[in-house]
Amino acid sequence: MSRLVVAALVLLITVGGLFGAAAWNRAGDVQSIVLTERELRLAWNGPLDRSEIRLRLQWQPRRDAQDARFWLTDLKLREIGFTTGVPAGAPEAELFYGRSLPRLAWVAFELNGPAWRLIEQRIEMSRPFDLAEPTRAYGRPLERSRLVPIDAAVTPEPLRRRYADAPVIVIPAVIRMHYFSSEKEGPSVWGEVEDLVSPEISVPARLRGHLPPPAKESDQEPRYEVDFRVGRLGAPWVEDIRRLSNDD
């Protein structure tokens, strides 16, 4: 057995290392926020009896070039590591920004704050026929998340200090540069949050029963709220889930 002891030790040390990383993540300065189904949706809308349950974090992508430049300025993009020296109108801009590599950064997401109010107004103005409709669990989930990226930095500490008293979570995300040119608006360059490093969160077995059954078209959301935590490594976890009554 001695020949395979090394392999067994590598496996056990790796598993131990993963638990150590998880424990270190949850110790110390933990961020806490209460999110609802609007921000944390079931990643799989099927039977919940057997398979693993994961919640998927939803956020406002802020894909509009003007809106994106408002929060993710050239200065911030340069701090994160992007090269922004080529003007959007330059002939080589499309190739340059099109080939730009994505970057990892820490992003501050604000819940139900001023940035969300502006986005909500824009959504409602663009969908006048839907105003009378109640909010349903199905359809356009992205439009209902009140979690909005408002700031970004290379390290989490400045963001955590800056938004210590606000309903904000700071989590690692992937940011990418975009280039678009139209005859009407001309060329523009902006950055946006392409994805989160941990977009899905595993629900512990003890909380499975707190989740409602798969959503039906007639269901109104949010049907549950979640105590959401983010640790030192930026890895999130679910602390608790509570069912909400829609009669409220």
């Binding site: 395979l4 392999a7 496996l11 598993v15 077995a205």
Partner: protein, 354 residues
């Protein structure tokens, strides 16, 4: 039992078979015929040697036994894949009902049980097919366990996890000389090396599959280092070299033929031309070296990659320029030319040997 001892035993058995065939041919051509006493003595000696080799090393004594052995190798590969899939399906079946301790215990149990299976089978079976199957299962279930435990703990899949994944595979491979396990682990090592380049620069590691230069560089590093892994186990230097060749030529092939995969600060089409120019002399140099060192499998790998490259380039350059019939006639002509070239290359070492 050392793996190289079994290979040497198999080589001796093959040599005896070849000797007997040649003796029969010489007798048919009436060039040489041993006396009945000599023939009886030779046959008795060879039978004793073959029986001893079969007893000690479980070698293939005939062509048919060799074919059956290759069948067993394929069956063990399929069996390993099926077992890993079974473990993944079983875990998925009960996953939701288990708490974290049970999940982690279950995930860790499978690779440890497979390691015990490796040891158990290796002590009882000399061909190591079943042990090899358990080796592959240990590798697959260990990688599955590492990924799943990180997932349930909500830790992102970090490139740091590739290093223990590769180390586990190498430790399993070295134990009883499992070459496929070694090759797979080296491939993960190459991914781990390439990911360091991006992770160090604040770029998400999966970009290594979108910009292939660091991957190519890591594969080249493996090629250079391949001869230094020979002491680990018999034939591991060849395995490392062939793995490196597949990864290196595969990555270069993609860089030369797919737009936008390069880090070079040129237009994508220019970067492709750069790698097309690099691919040809590099392939020829690698092929020349493989032929010089007698690495026939390496030479075949390089020749296949080169032929594919030429084929794709030919389509890219000429499909729109010349009529379809002329295109295929030229293609057939190229096939004949390559056969003639390979025949000359094939005959040269034989002439030199004579």
């Amino acid at each position: 039992m050392p793996r190289d001892a079994r290979r040497a035993a198999q080589a001796r058995a093959d040599q005896i078979r070849a000797f007997r065939r040649e003796l029969r041919t010489l007798a048919d051509e009436e060039a040489f015929r041993p006396s009945p006493e000599q023939e009886a003595a030779l046959t008795a000696h060879h039978e004793r040697v073959l029986a001893s080799l079969a007893r000690d090393f479980d070698i293939d004594r005939s062509e048919r036994e060799g074919q059956l052995s290759r069948g067993m190798q394929i069956a063990s590969l399929l069996g390993a894949a099926a077992l890993v899939a079974a473990v993944a399906a079983l875990v998925n079946q009960f996953w939701g009902r288990l708490g974290l301790p049970a999940q982690v215990t279950l995930l860790t149990f499978f690779p440890l049980a497979a390691l015990a299976g490796v040891q158990f089978a290796a002590e009882r079976e000399r061909t190591r097919y079943v042990a090899g199957l358990f080796g592959l299962v240990a590798l697959g279930t260990a990688w599955f366990a590492m990924g799943m435990i990180a997932r349930v703990l909500n830790l992102p899949l970090s490139p740091l996890l590739f290093w223990p994944a590769a180390a586990f595979g190498i430790a399993v491979a070295v134990s009883y000389g499992f070459r496929l396990v070694f090759a797979l682990s080296l491939a993960v090592s190459v991914v781990a090396m390439a990911s360091v380049f991006f992770a160090g620069g604040g770029v998400p590691w999966p970009v290594l599959f979108d910009r292939l230069e660091p991957f190519t560089g890591a594969a080249f590093a493996l090629l250079v280092l391949s001869r230094h892994v020979a002491p680990l186990s018999d034939g591991f230097d060849n395995t490392a070299r062939h793995t490196a060749l597949v990864l290196l030529l595969g990555a270069l092939f993609m860089l030369a033929n797919v737009s936008g995969l390069s880090l070079l600060a040129f237009a994508p089409s220019t970067a492709q031309i750069v790698y097309q120019v690099v691919f040809v002399p590099l392939s020829i140099a690698l092929l020349w070296r493989a032929l010089r060192t007698g690495d026939s499998r390496g030479a075949t790998l390089i020749a296949v990659a080169f032929a594919l490259f030429i084929l794709v380039r030919y389509f890219d350059w000429f499909w729109d320029w010349i009529p379809a019939w002329a295109f295929f006639v030229v293609l057939a002509g190229m096939a004949f030319a390559s056969i003639a070239l390979l025949r000359r290359v094939r005959h040269r070492p034989e002439t030199e040997a004579i």
